[in-house]
């Protein structure tokens, strides 16, 4: 039975309830703004032109396909690196490392998640891309691969944190049952623990990949920014241009209200929808799993 609320408590409670809804308000606001400034692009540029293969805005070539493929190939590359390394590291921390090492490794990986992307991009142009050029004999080191490597560095901490939590949450009884039946620890990990933590691990992967798609500064500094249609496997070793880098590089120059301005917002809208899709899939996969929030967002 509640005491009757004082006026003060009433106001506070209302304020808290309003704050609760604020997240929805903000998402809706962002979506609304992107729509408002981005949809006119569909009116000003024909769809066939938007879906063409040349991006050269100052001459009214607004083909966004090269940008889409650029983002996709860099993210794919990042995923191919981040997923095995991320899950592997999570398995190591959760199942194989001794207790004392766990206490060192977890904060260390979290540290990587805190590194600003501009710092990674900075090291990318000075250290990574020259190495890539020399070691792989490429014409230039400013490639999708450089971007993928940096993005993997940004995605891995997220994958590790969430996956490690998920593995940690698997009840001890599962493992003990398997050991009691004679399985080795290795067999237990792959046949029992990991499958049990499957949804959490998958969440970690999706969140990590989601972070990679949205990364801006690191890719802008190392991928070369050439608007090429990146559909061959070899494109990984060539320069590409991502959607995020395009917005960041070109937004400053546009006169507000111009066609270029609308198209850039349209690209932002596309990015928003992609991350929305990734998140909806991730959360429906993990409907019931309780998330350790601070790990998700490290």
């Amino acid at each position: 039975m509640e005491k009757s609320l004082t006026w003060y408590e009433f106001v506070i409670t209302r304020a808290i309830k309003a704050s609760g809804y604020s997240a929805i308000v903000f998402v809706a606001l962002i979506f609304f703004f992107l729509l408002r400034e981005g949809l006119p692009a569909l009116g000003e540029v024909e769809l066939t032109s938007l879906l063409s293969v040349r991006w050269y805005p100052i001459e009214n070539y607004f083909g966004i396909l090269p940008l889409l493929t650029g983002s996709l190939i860099v993210t794919l590359g990042a995923g191919l690196i981040a997923v095995p390394f991320g899950i592997g590291t999570a398995v190591y921390i959760s199942e194989i490392a001794p207790r004392w090492m766990r206490e060192i490794l977890k904060p260390l990986v979290e540290l990587l998640g805190g590194l600003p992307s501009v710092v990674l991009g900075f090291l990318g142009i000075l250290v990574l891309s020259p190495y890539l050029r020399v070691f792989l004999g490429l014409p230039t080191g400013l490639t999708a691969l450089a971007g993928s490597l940096l993005l993997a560095g940004i995605a891995v901490p997220t994958v590790v944190s969430v996956a490690e939590d998920a593995l940690d949450a698997v009840p001890r009884a599962y493992r003990e049952g398997a050991w009691a039946l004679g399985a080795t620890r290795w067999q237990t990990i792959w046949r029992v623990t990991l499958p049990a933590a499957r949804s959490g691990v998958l969440t970690g992967v999706m969140l990590g990949v989601g972070r990679a798609i949205g990364e801006t500064m690191a890719v802008m500094m190392v991928t070369g920014n050439a608007p090429v249609l990146a559909v061959k496997l070899g494109s990984l070793f060539s320069p590409v241009r991502t959607m995020t880098a395009t917005i960041a590089a070109e937004m400053g120059e546009v006169a507000s209200g111009s066609t270029h301005y609308h198209v850039l917002f349209f690209i932002g809208l596309v990015l928003f929808m992609i991350s929305l899709a990734v998140n909806i899939i991730a959360s429906s996969v993990v409907f019931r799993t309780k998330k350790r929030a601070e790990r998700i967002l490290s």
């Binding site: 293969v53 001459e59 050029r133 014409p139 920014n225 507000s256």
Partner: protein
């Protein structure tokens, strides 16, 4: 714990206000404030000017930002800057946009610039015709041996599309000044967001070809001598060759204001065209406006 964080916040506020009072005088609040934005080619020159001017005029404060010629002009049209820097002339569409926003851009030529075509010091190629450069950048030539060099792929570097340098290069070199020409950069041209990016890539990549304002080319990079036509003289960029027009790729650098400038802005612009400021132009590798 809470107390510690409160103390830290207070401390940092004190630190911050100490810092600001050390670097500005009481008159700062009534000082004239000039916002200067635009071309990345001009930004370092603008910064040098701002520093020099402010050291002699403590009642004026100037802030300088880059972003590209397009950025500066857009800001002028949006009404958020006093002076826009541009390494190209304002475009027709921009003029129309300005007029419809009630803005009247006035143009000032504040310096001249040569665009140098640069290659890695190890690259044996040291002269090219304008047509050859155009063909390389449009994609016709893909290997250095096609222009007299080694058997290496050509990595084409360019500035971003919002750069006045880029637009100027497109019109003057790729299209050879023909307004009806629709040639574009090849799709795999790297559009780097800054001049310095081009310089550092050319410096360490023997396959690279780039272009940049003369003021951005450090001594250790190799510039290519350019002939306007096949059979003509190959000329390296310098103050002299820009002024006598023998170098093929030279341009004016501009500052735009909204309407005729008055007050502090007018004084600043007058100073910029004075010999004192133009001496800085030469120091930085640009060419003084005549």
């Amino acid at each position: 714990m809470k107390r510690a964080s409160i103390f830290f916040l207070i401390f940092s506020f004190i630190l911050a206000s100490c810092g600001s009072s050390n670097n500005s005088s009481a008159s700062d609040f009534t000082a004239a404030y000039i916002e200067n934005k635009g071309s990345d080619t001009i930004v370092n020159l603008a910064l040098a000017w701002a520093e020099k001017y402010q050291s002699g005029h403590s009642d004026v404060r100037i802030s300088v930002t880059g972003g590209g010629s397009g950025t500066g002009i857009a800001a002028l049209i949006n009404g958020t800057v006093d002076i826009a820097n541009a390494s190209r002339k304002i475009k027709e569409e921009e003029l129309t946009e300005a007029k419809s926003n009630g803005v009247d851009p006035i143009e000032f030529v504040i310096a001249r610039d040569a665009i140098a075509v640069i290659v890695n010091p190890e690259n044996p190629v040291d002269k090219l015709t304008l047509q050859q450069i155009s063909d390389i950048y449009s994609g016709k030539f893909a290997n250095w041996k096609e222009v007299g060099g080694e058997d290496r792929p050509i990595v084409r570097l360019s500035r971003e599309t919002n750069s006045g340098t880029h637009v100027y290069f497109l019109e003057t070199v790729l299209r050879l000044g023909d307004k009806k020409d629709k040639t574009l950069f090849s799709m795999d041209t790297l559009l780097l967001p800054s001049s310095e990016g081009i310089v550092s890539e050319v410096r360490q990549n023997p396959n690279a070809l780039g272009y940049d304002g003369l003021g951005y080319v450090p001594k250790d990079l190799k510039m290519v001598a350019i002939a306007k036509e096949a059979g003509g003289a190959y000329v390296l960029p310098s103050i002299a060759t820009v002024n006598d027009k023998s170098y093929a790729i030279a341009r004016d650098l501009y500052m735009y204001t909204n309407g005729q400038p008055t007050g502090a802005v007018k004084d600043y612009l007058d100073w910029i065209i004075s010999p004192e400021a133009q001496a800085i132009v030469a120091e930085l590798g640009f060419v003084p406006a005549k």
